[in-house]
Subunit: 221 residues, 3 copies
Amino acid sequence: MLTISDGVTHGVRTDSSGPALAARLTALGFDVTRGLVPDERRLIAAAVRGAARDHVLVVSTGGTGLAPRDVTPQALHELLDYEVPGFGEVMRAEGRRSTPFAVLSRSLAGVLGRTLVVALPGSERGAVESFEAITPLLDHALATLGGDAGPHPPLAGAAADDSGRHGDDDTTGGDDPGRDRNAADRPESGERDDTGGGSSGAEPGSILSGPPRELPPTGSG
Amino acid sequence: MLTISDGVTHGVRTDSSGPALAARLTALGFDVTRGLVPDERRLIAAAVRGAARDHVLVVSTGGTGLAPRDVTPQALHELLDYEVPGFGEVMRAEGRRSTPFAVLSRSLAGVLGRTLVVALPGSERGAVESFEAITPLLDHALATLGGDAGPHPPLAGAAADDSGRHGDDDTTGGDDPGRDRNAADRPESGERDDTGGGSSGAEPGSILSGPPRELPPTGSG
Amino acid sequence: MLTISDGVTHGVRTDSSGPALAARLTALGFDVTRGLVPDERRLIAAAVRGAARDHVLVVSTGGTGLAPRDVTPQALHELLDYEVPGFGEVMRAEGRRSTPFAVLSRSLAGVLGRTLVVALPGSERGAVESFEAITPLLDHALATLGGDAGPHPPLAGAAADDSGRHGDDDTTGGDDPGRDRNAADRPESGERDDTGGGSSGAEPGSILSGPPRELPPTGSG
């Protein structure tokens, strides 16, 4: 989990969204690792890229506002393999129930390799409300990204690996030393009703922040 | 109408969304031709480009999911002259009434030349529900794209042809040997209420799948 | 405020959205200057760029439809520093309450330097309804863009100026001869409830159309 803020980086601002969001993620069963990055496109991209190498989910807070100094979306537009526009749409649509200013948030999500990357606002309220809007989707999204549980059956001799970085489509997880697959272990849930309750009972996943690349698997399932 | 799927192409998956959608289109008065393409960006782009040369509407199903093997949106981002973001937004917003996972669909629509291109999900339910969300818009959209019935009156000596490929703005249709204008024959309906019923009574249009380029006009209007 | 239309430019169409929108803006306390541009990407980009040099808000009407001759979004995609997707989303979502065809509008907004640029439809109804959907956001958005009232405190020795064009983060306004800061004078309002009434009581801002670059401050606050 990455907090993206000049103010927090320079010690002139307290990070409130980071702890609040980490608590939510922990409650959902994720192992959370946190990091801090200033509002610099190059540094944001490097931190997200590094985190995505070892983890199935990267969540950032901050830098999604309207001001020219907010550059998280620009950094991700360049970095992500592809974006998933419904995430931003639903975070803003749900946010409008609380405040019309949710429209101004440039929150977004997309995919890098097989990692889901989600960029949330920096305010505690904005980050938590946006995250709650997408919580019911996380299990399904991570399972789909995790490998061949998705809609495409594996082709003989051709693993469904377009990223060129992960040669392993095994969804039984845990055997890839450079990648925590805990969250990807979950079986594809297919069509379900919205339980409204998110991921209770989910096995733990892991969210990395910051550039360290060769983490051992957290394995805290 | 293009079914985009590795599984269907390789015979390991049955196409259910294709027939369901073809039935809907036929019921709306469209002449439907179908094709099948694997999940390869280059092949998707070639098939859509070929189909758009001769037809006013190209509809694809499949390849809009979250997995790295889903590449239809990426292929269309590069190919289309411009996208019309409201189509994707409304397909997801309406889909959320059935399932929260509609958020994950990267359904979209846009314009290539004067052809409307719509990319729907591969699941039967997702494809049909998404299509129903945009059905009330099709007549108006195709009429606007068909020529000078749109909001811009023709300028003397300067046909409203930005694509460089269709030098003919005549909306009386049928005289362009390389292009079926049936769907574009309809008069601009202007402001109307949402009848909720789509295009009942519409004259037939045509939807091509696959690369054949020099089709005669279907002329079944 | 820019009216973008071939028809109006060539005298074959009457601009109805321009006067209607100007009246709304004036009622909100803005000083409105108007201009007229044909549907040409290069001319649209030049007009918006010129207007943004001197003003905090640039509003255009027209050229956002589905037809190939509608090129305002394409011109802005290239020109803007970044887009703010929630503006287009909320304009279409609110517009759907009146007509399903609001989905077809490619309305959008984004930021150029520290200027908010908003592109509305050319129809009077579409322009006014879209503008009303974003009216409650304008004060907050302009204050955020106006300088250091935003979420990022100024860093010592490094003004929050990413545009390379405006070296002045002072929000007390009026002392920048090349830029009207009236609208930016307003204090950051922070979290507020949606009053539903827009900006009554706001100090006047200014909306420029056309390329004149060295306007004196209007100073009519």
